[in-house]
Symmetry: C2
Subunit: 347 residues, 2 copies
C-alpha cells in the first residue's frame, strides 16, 4: 500500500554490489575502486536514495543531531537565538530538534526526556528556572550547554550576558541625569537574569531611590496593575523595564495615562528590539548580543561533543547600552556613553 523509501539494499542490488560497498562509498571510505563508486552513485541518483539517519545512528552510535530547549519560541529574542543556532549548527551538518518549555518547569522536564529519546549528541538549554539539574532524567549522558539564564548548579557550561553591569550602566545614567526615583519593572525575580539585572540596577542607582514591581509571566496583562503607582503624586520620575515584552506592554500604558516621555517620566529598557528605535522618542536600551550568544553556545557544545572533558566554563558577553531620547541627557558630560546614535524620528 504505502511505498516505502528505497533502502541501501535496493541500491546495492541495482548497482550489483554488496551492502557494505554502498555504505563504504556513501561514507567516503578509502578502499573502493572508482568504477564501483560510479555504479553506486548512479544507483543512488536513480532511486533517489537518502540514508535513514535513525538506522545509521542506531548502528554507529553517532548522530549529527542536537536539541534546543527554549522558554518561549514566540519571544523574538529566543526566536533569534534559535534562528542563529539553526544556521551555525547546519553549517556543521547538524540537525536541530526544537522544543519550547513555555516557562513551565514540568514541561521543561517533559521536553528534556522527549529530546533524550532521540539520543542527540548534545543539547542547548535556556532553562526556565535555576533548578535545571534537578529535572534532568536519571541516566543523562549527552553534553549540555546552558545559555541565557543562570542555573543554580555550577556543573554546566554557561553562556550568558553581563546582566548586572549593563543594568548598572542604565541606572547610573538615569541617576546622573537627575532622576530621583525609579521604578524597575520585571516579569519575576525568580528568573535569574531578572535578579542579576535588579541587583545591577541597585549598584548603579547611587542616590536614586529604586522600587521594584513584578508583573508576572504575562506582562501584557500584568502591567495593568501598575497604573496606580504611575499616576499618583508619588509617581517615579524614571521607569526601567528589565525585559522586552514588559517594555512593550508598559510603553503604551504611559501614553494612556497622559504621561509624556521624557518630560514627565524617563524611560529605559533592557533587551533592545527594533521598534524601540522607531517610537517617539526612541528608547534608551541595553542590547543583548543574542547572535553572539547563540554562536558561542554552539561552539562550546561542539567542543563538548568532540570530547572536551575540561571543567565547566562560563562565558559572559557584554551588552551595549545606547542612550536615546527617552532619557534626559546626562547633566554633566560624564564618562561618555554612546551619545545617541541614529534614528531620532520626530522629537
Amino acid at each position: 500500500m504505502t511505498p516505502r523509501s528505497p533502502t541501501i539494499r535496493m541500491v546495492a542490488e541495482r548497482a550489483g554490489v554488496s551492502l557494505a560497498t554502498v555504505s563504504n562509498v556513501l561514507n567516503g571510505k578509502p578502499s573502493v575502486s572508482p568504477d564501483y563508486a560510479a555504479r553506486v552513485m548512479e544507483a543512488v541518483e536513480a532511486l533517489g536514495y537518502v540514508p535513514d539517519l535513525a538506522a545509521s545512528r542506531l548502528r554507529s552510535g553517532k548522530a549529527a543531531l542536537a536539541g534546543v530547549v527554549v522558554p518561549d519560541l514566540g519571544n523574538p529574542m529566543f526566536a533569534r537565538f534559535v534562528s542563529v543556532l539553526e544556521h551555525v549548527a547546519r553549517e556543521d551538518g547538524f540537525d536541530l530538534v526544537v522544543v519550547s518549555s513555555r516557562n513551565d518547569p514540568a514541561e521543561e522536564a517533559d521536553r528534556l526526556a522527549n529530546i533524550r529519546a532521540w539520543r542527540p549528541s548534545g543539547v542547548i538549554v535556556l532553562p526556565c528556572d535555576g533548578a535545571l539539574a534537578a529535572r534532568l532524567p536519571a541516566g543523562w549522558t549527552a553534553p549540555i550547554v546552558v545559555a541565557d539564564r543562570i542555573p543554580d548548579d555550577g556543573r554546566f557550561d554557561l553562556v550568558a550576558v553581563d546582566n548586572g553591569p549593563a543594568a548598572a550602566q542604565v541606572t547610573r545614567h538615569l541617576a546622573g541625569a537627575g532622576c530621583r526615583t525609579c521604578l524597575v519593572v520585571a516579569t519575576s525575580l525568580a528568573i535569574s537574569n531578572m535578579r542579576e539585572r535588579w541587583e545591577g540596577a541597585q549598584v548603579g542607582a547611587g542616590a536614586m531611590e529604586l522600587a521594584l514591581a513584578e508583573v508576572g509571566d504575562d506582562p501584557a496583562s500584568g502591567v495593568a496593575r501598575l497604573s496606580g503607582r504611575l499616576s499618583g503624586t508619588g509617581r517615579p520620575d524614571a521607569l526601567f523595564a528589565l525585559e522586552q515584552m514588559t517594555s512593550l506592554a508598559l510603553y503604551p500604558l504611559l501614553g494612556s495615562l497622559g504621561l509624556v516621555v521624557p518630560a514627565d517620566i524617563a524611560y529605559a529598557s533592557f533587551d533592545e528590539m527594533e521598534w524601540m528605535r522607531l517610537v517617539t522618542p526612541p528608547l534608551t536600551a541595553a542590547r543583548q548580543p543574542v547572535e553572539a550568544m547563540a554562536q558561542a553556545a554552539w561552539t562550546r557544545l561542539r567542543a563538548r561533543m568532540a570530547g572536551d572533558a575540561g571543567p565547566p566554563a562560563t562565558i559572559r558577553l557584554a551588552c551595549t547600552v545606547t542612550l536615546r531620547g527617552s532619557t534626559p541627557p546626562a547633566a554633566s558630560p560624564g564618562p561618555a556613553l554612546t551619545p545617541s546614535g541614529s534614528g531620532r524620528h520626530r522629537p
Copy 2:
C-alpha cells in the same frame, strides 16, 4: 568509556521479565498482568530508562516526528508560526525538526533531503518560491502541507491568507481617503504572496495611480534606493509596504526625509506587528492570522498522516485590516470599515 543509555534489555533483566513484556507494558498493550506491569515500571524508574525513538521508529515504521521548513526563522512572522506549530504538534505528541531555507531554493532542496533522512511522518513547508514540486527528492513519500506561500503545482494541500482581498481593502481605503498616487513597496514579486498582494492592490486602487518598487530580499538595505522617488516633486502621496520587514525599514526613512505621516504622505502596511501600534501615528495595517494558519496547517497534516487520501485542499484565511492614524480618514463615511478599534474584516 562513555556509559550508554539504559536499554530495554537492561530493564527486562532488572524486572526479571522478557524484552517483549517490557515493550508491551510501555506501549500499553492489553494482555499484561498488573503485577508484571508494576515490576517493569519499577525497573524503568530505577534505571531512568527512556525508549530510543529511532530504534522504535525503525522497527515499527511509525514516528511521532514532523518536519518544518521556513524561509527565515529570524522573521518574527515565521517565528510565531513555528512557535504555534510546535505547541499544537506537541499536544499530539509530535516532535519537530525545524530548518530554515534562508530564502534560497538550493538550500531548501538540501534541507528537504535532510529532513527526509529522518523519515518524518509529515512535513510542513513554507516554500521560498513556487517551484517546490521540482525540488522534492525523488522517492518522497511523506505527506506535505504547504503554508503561507502558494506553489505553482496544485497537488499540495495549502493553507494561506487572502492576500489579494486584504491588499485591495487597503488601497480602496487610501483611494477613498483622497490619495491620488501610491507607491507599493515589496521585497520581490517572485514571491507569490507579494504577487497576490500587488494584484489585489491594483484591484482596490480604482482611480488612484499605483507604482511598484521591489527592494529585494534584504529590505534593510534595499529601501535606501527609494529616497529619490520619495523626495522629488513627483512623490506619491501614499505608501503601502507589502511586508513587515519592508515596513520596518521604510518607516524611519520617511522621518529622515522630513516627511510627516499622514500629512505629507499616508502610510499603510501589510503584516501587522506590535510596534505598528506603538509608533506615532500608529500604522494602518493588515494583520495576518499567523496563529490560525499554523493551527490549520497542522490539522490538515494530521489528517493526511492519519491516512486521509482526498484531493488536495486549499484553505484561505481572512486578514484583518485596521485603520489607524497613519492614513487619513475616509472622505465620505462610505461602506464603514472598522474606524480604528478592533478588527472587522469585511468580505
